[in-house]
Amino acid sequence: MNTLANNIPINYYLILSGILFCIGVMGVLMRRNAIIILMCIELMLNAVNLLLAAFSVMHNDAGGQVMVFFIMAVAAAEVAVGLSILVLIYRNVKSVDINILNRLKW
């Protein structure tokens, strides 16, 4: 089996995935818009997914790809719940700025 994926060394995947993950982390940390934060979380998840798929091919083991499907399913559910929460928040406070959402505390 000599596909494109096999020809790219694993390091490239690692670096790409690391970059994507860091972008996601930085996005979560620095942005104030809750929707963007949600997207950044997706980005982190997908960075991990990419890595899992890459290692799965490298080791010729389907387990990694199965895991990816799991993560995708969970992420889809999470986004559904997260977005509906955000919709409700927006209806109440007319904003999705997380700095405004600081009333959920003692």
């Binding site: 982390v25 979560v28 940390l29 104030r32 809750a34 934060i37 997380i98 700095n99 959402l101 600081n102 009333r103 959920l104 505390k105 003692w106």
Partner: protein, 653 residues
């Protein structure tokens, strides 16, 4: 004269062990179970349905529940072989190497107790019907009496120490119920609690003794313990410890120094209860237990010596207190303590059959005296102070005559029951070489006659000293009360003839009847001349006592003074040597102040402090930590990322 053999080992004839039968196997087994269960049934019926039953039906059920066992006991008396029979009901406890059966041993010793309990018990039940039927709680009273009889039968019939202990605790409980029967009077409640607590102290000793027995023998059944005892325990210090602990149990139940103070207070209960529980049966449980364990006590000469000394001291001590009491029941109560001391003195010197003999005769005449006292109190509308009595002879002829017989019996007048048993104890104590104890017991005997005659003259002779209303009310008791008096009076006379001294009859019926149980104890031979000297001296002493007390209390009309006018020794005696006050100050008050300290300091500051401190710490650490919860999602995420980074770093290095 008898010489103590120091290296004596009791010989147990293993062929004499009784056979075990199942309860349904024969008439004996059925009778034995019926004896035990009938009083329980009576208790259940009267206790559960007392609202629905008429007063007369309650009385009939309660009396039937004890008369049936009495009849069956008489049947057993004729049917039981010499070595006894064990009736197996069911396996009770079977855990690890502890195997206990609910089974009953019917041998000559338990038969004696059985006949006393059911016989005297029947008479007292009949008497109670007359004495108590006006009481609003009459059914409750009768059901308690039945329950007491059930536990007492369990105590004497059990074939192992645990069944005995169950009965032992049960009679203590019933004693508590009945002392505090009139629970609306707080003093009576306190008396009941005192009896219960004092008994608990003794029970603890008993229980520890049982633990030691189990540790040594791996069993608690009489057969196994007594069969193995000479081999396992001879020359072993443990046997002394076991016997000592068992005797502590007996001290509590049978009111010996230092645990005797509950018995006089127990007179708070109805008078028939005093007769049944606190004179005839329950208080002799300690004596029964020691006679039952006589194989063990024979192996522990120092413990036996201790028992003899405690018994003698109690006898003397209580008799001196009895000299100055003015409550008719208190005099009899101290007399009971004193007579129990006699019995223990007999057990201590190894005269187990004499001790049991005195148990039986004492049950007759002391129950009689108490029931007479009840009849007097009934006639006096509840008054118990002998200073307000006097001259009751002509108002209560039957009570007077029967009381006189009781007095003659307890004083040891020749021909009456007390004479035979008491002189037997005296001569055996002397013959076993305890000269000092003999002198003390002889003095006690004299004192007994003094306070009993004093009680008799003050109550029944002279002029009536009560109020006019009381005099108007004086009447002889109904037949249901006088009938038991007459039966007991007859028993107080003839009861002694089953144990006639050797110089009168070759055959001591009672002693030979008990021989299968106590036969391994060495026989104590008293010299016949000595017994006759004792007899002659006692007759002279009794005549003198009767005469001097008569001149004192009847001719000269001396009435005991008010308690607060007394000085010196009489004051000391009236106040019972201040033993109650001593216990109050030496034990109760320190305990109370320790409790107060525990409450005011330990409970309030240390325990509450720890509990409240935990709460305070949680609240305040929460107050501090809640500062972290800003509500700012960015901050949370930032903290999370920092945390994850730290975990990664930890993973790497």
């Amino acid at each position: 004269m008898y010489v103590v053999n120091k290296n004596f080992v009791p010989q147990i004839n293993m062929n004499h062990l009784s056979q075990t039968i199942s309860f349904s196997q024969s008439g004996i087994g059925m009778a034995c179970i019926a004896i035990i269960l009938t009083p329980l049934l009576g208790f259940l019926i009267n206790g559960l349905f007392n609202k629905k039953l008429s007063t007369s039906l309650v009385g009939i059920i309660a009396c039937a529940a004890i008369i049936i066992p009495f009849v069956l006991s008489c049947y057993l008396f004729t049917a039981i072989p010499e070595e006894g029979i064990t009736v197996h009901l069911f396996d009770w406890i079977n855990v690890g190497n502890l195997h206990l059966d609910m089974s009953f041993l019917v041998d000559h010793l338990s038969l004696v107790m059985l006949l006393v309990i059911t016989g005297v018990g029947s008479l007292i039940h009949i008497y109670s019907v007359g004495y108590m039927h006006h009481d609003e709680d009459y059914p409750r009273y009768m059901s308690y009496l039945n329950l007491f009889v059930f536990f007492m039968l369990l105590l004497v019939l059990g074939s192992n120490y645990v069944v005995m202990f169950a009965g032992w605790e049960g009679v203590g409980l019933c004693s508590y119920f009945l002392i505090g029967f009139w629970f609306k009077n707080n003093e009576y409640n306190n008396a009941a609690k005192k009896a219960f607590v004092m008994n608990r102290i003794g029970d603890l000793g008993f229980l520890l003794g049982l633990f030691l027995l189990f540790q040594k023998f791996g069993s608690l059944s009489y057969h196994e313990i007594f069969g193995a005892a000479p081999a396992v325990l001879n020359g072993n210090a443990t046997v002394t410890a076991i016997c000592f602990l068992l005797f502590v149990g007996a001290m509590g139940k049978s009111a010996q120094i230092p645990l005797y103070t509950w018995l006089p207070d127990a007179m708070a209960g109805p008078t028939p209860v005093s007769a049944l529980i606190h004179a005839a049966t329950m208080v002799t449980a300690g004596i029964y237990m020691i006679v039952r364990s006589n194989i063990l006590f024979q192996l522990a000469p120092s413990a036996s010596e201790f028992i003899a000394i405690i018994g003698t001291l109690t006898a003397l001590f209580a008799a001196t207190i009895g000299l100055k009491q003015t409550d008719i029941k208190k005099v009899l109560a101290y007399s009971t303590v004193s007579q129990l001391g006699y019995m223990f003195a007999a057990l201590g010197v190894g005269a187990y059959d004499s001790g049991m003999f005195h148990v039986v005769t004492h049950a007759f005449f002391k129950a009689l005296l108490f029931l007479c006292a009840g009849s007097v109190i009934h006639a006096m509308s509840g008054a118990q102070d002998i200073r307000s009595m006097g001259g009751l002879k002509k108002y209560l002829p039957i009570t007077h005559l029967t009381f006189l017989i009781g007095v003659l019996a307890i004083s040891g007048v020749p021909g009456f029951a007390g004479f035979f048993s008491k002189d037997e104890i005296l001569s055996k104590v002397y013959a076993s070489g305890h000269f000092v104890l003999f002198i003390l017991l002889a003095i006690t005997s004299v004192l007994t006659a003094v306070y009993m005659f004093r009680l008799y003259w003050l109550t029944f002779h002279g002029k009536f000293r009560g109020t006019h209303d009381q005099q108007h009310h004086l009447h002889e008791s109904p037949t249901s009360m006088t009938f038991p008096l007459m039966v007991l009076a007859v028993l107080s006379i003839v009861g002694g003839y089953m144990g006639m001294p050797e110089w009168l009859s070759e055959h001591h019926l009672f002693s030979s009847f008990l021989h299968p149980v106590t036969g391994s104890a060495p026989h104590i031979h008293a010299s016949h001349t000595f017994e006759m000297v004792v007899l002659a001296v006692s007759i002279i002493a009794l005549v003198l006592i009767a005469y001097t007390t008569y001149t004192q209390y009847v001719t000269k009309h001396v009435v005991p003074e008010d308690d607060n006018q007394l000085k010196g020794v009489p004051k000391l005696l009236t106040n019972k040597y201040y033993i109650d006050e001593l216990y109050e100050n030496a034990i109760t008050k320190p305990l109370n102040s320790i409790s107060a300290f525990m409450y005011n300091f330990v409970e309030k500051y240390i325990i509450d402090g720890a509990v409240n401190g935990t709460g305070w710490l949680t609240t305040n650490s929460g107050v501090l930590l809640k500062q972290l919860q800003t509500g700012n999602v960015g901050f949370y995420v930032f903290a999370m990322v920092i945390g994850i980074c730290l975990m990664l770093l930890k993973l790497l290095f």
